[in-house]
């Protein structure tokens, strides 16, 4: 699974993208966020308030209770401030 990060999520985790293979019990977006948070300091800071993190799967917004795709690109980012 390819992960991509934007804005302060990217800065706190310290990388733009990475490929991960979460264990089988990581089924939903919320599971993924919890699993990533335990991976180290940068992740812990970036995902401290996991509920505000927005997630897109293959370029589409998804809720935290959405099932993760078997494969594809999962993006994590702060609330958007465009326009």
């Amino acid at each position: 699974m390819k992960l991509v990060y934007f804005a302060w999520v990217r800065e706190r985790i310290g990388k733009e993208t990475e490929t991960v293979t979460p264990p089988g019990e990581v089924e939903t977006v919320a599971d993924l966020l919890a699993w990533l948070k335990a991976r180290g300091d940068g992740y812990a800071v970036a995902l401290e308030h996991a509920e505000v993190i927005r997630v897109a799967v293959d370029h589409e917004h998804v809720d935290h209770d959405a099932k993760l795709p078997a494969d594809g690109e999962v993006a994590l980012f702060p609330p958007m401030t465009g326009g």
Binding site: V4, F6, A56, H59, A75, M80, T81, G82, G83
Partner: protein, 156 residues
């Protein structure tokens, strides 16, 4: 709506030409009764801001703006719709975003532009970093609850 227009969406670093974008939706057309443009610009916040840096999610930015624009084209009888969003470093007085909505009657064009701006603010994957005057380190703009609440007006 069967005859819905095909929106034009562009995500780019360079500036846009508002007059040219109006022309694109109106030149030679006798069925366009109303054209609304909305231009969002970079402000200097009374001199406190030196520049704005706009990060975006390439690929998703175009896709998400396209979805928002298509929804507007379904909800209002538009004859044309263009959305251009810039990214990169922008200085005060520079343009950030442009919406051009054309329609037969005025309400459709005004409401569609209003809808587009509300959704772009809260759904398009762009993030603003403010670089303060004086060279201090930049900080990310926080999303406003009011922007999220503004979407409630459009829920059917």
């Amino acid at each position: 709506m069967k005859n819905r227009c095909q929106p034009l969406v562009r995500v780019q670093a360079e500036d846009f030409d508002i007059a040219a974008e109006i022309d694109r939706l109106t030149a030679g057309r006798k069925d366009v009764g109303a054209v609304v443009t909305f231009t969002g610009r970079c402000r200097d916040e009374d001199g406190k801001l030196a520049a704005l840096e706009l990060e975006h999610y390439p690929g998703m930015a175009e896709a998400e703006i396209g979805r928002i624009a298509s929804e507007a084209a379904e909800r209002w009888p538009l004859t044309g719709l263009t959305v251009i969003h810039r990214f990169g470093k922008l200085l005060p007085a520079e343009n950030i975003v442009l919406v051009v909505a054309a329609s037969t009657h005025r309400k459709a064009a005004l409401e569609a532009a209003d809808f587009l701006m509300d959704y772009l603010k809260s759904r398009a994957p762009f993030w603003k970093k403010e670089h303060p005057a004086g060279g201090d380190t930049g900080h990310w703009v926080e999303a406003k609850a009011a922007d999220e609440e503004a979407l409630g007006r459009w829920r059917k």
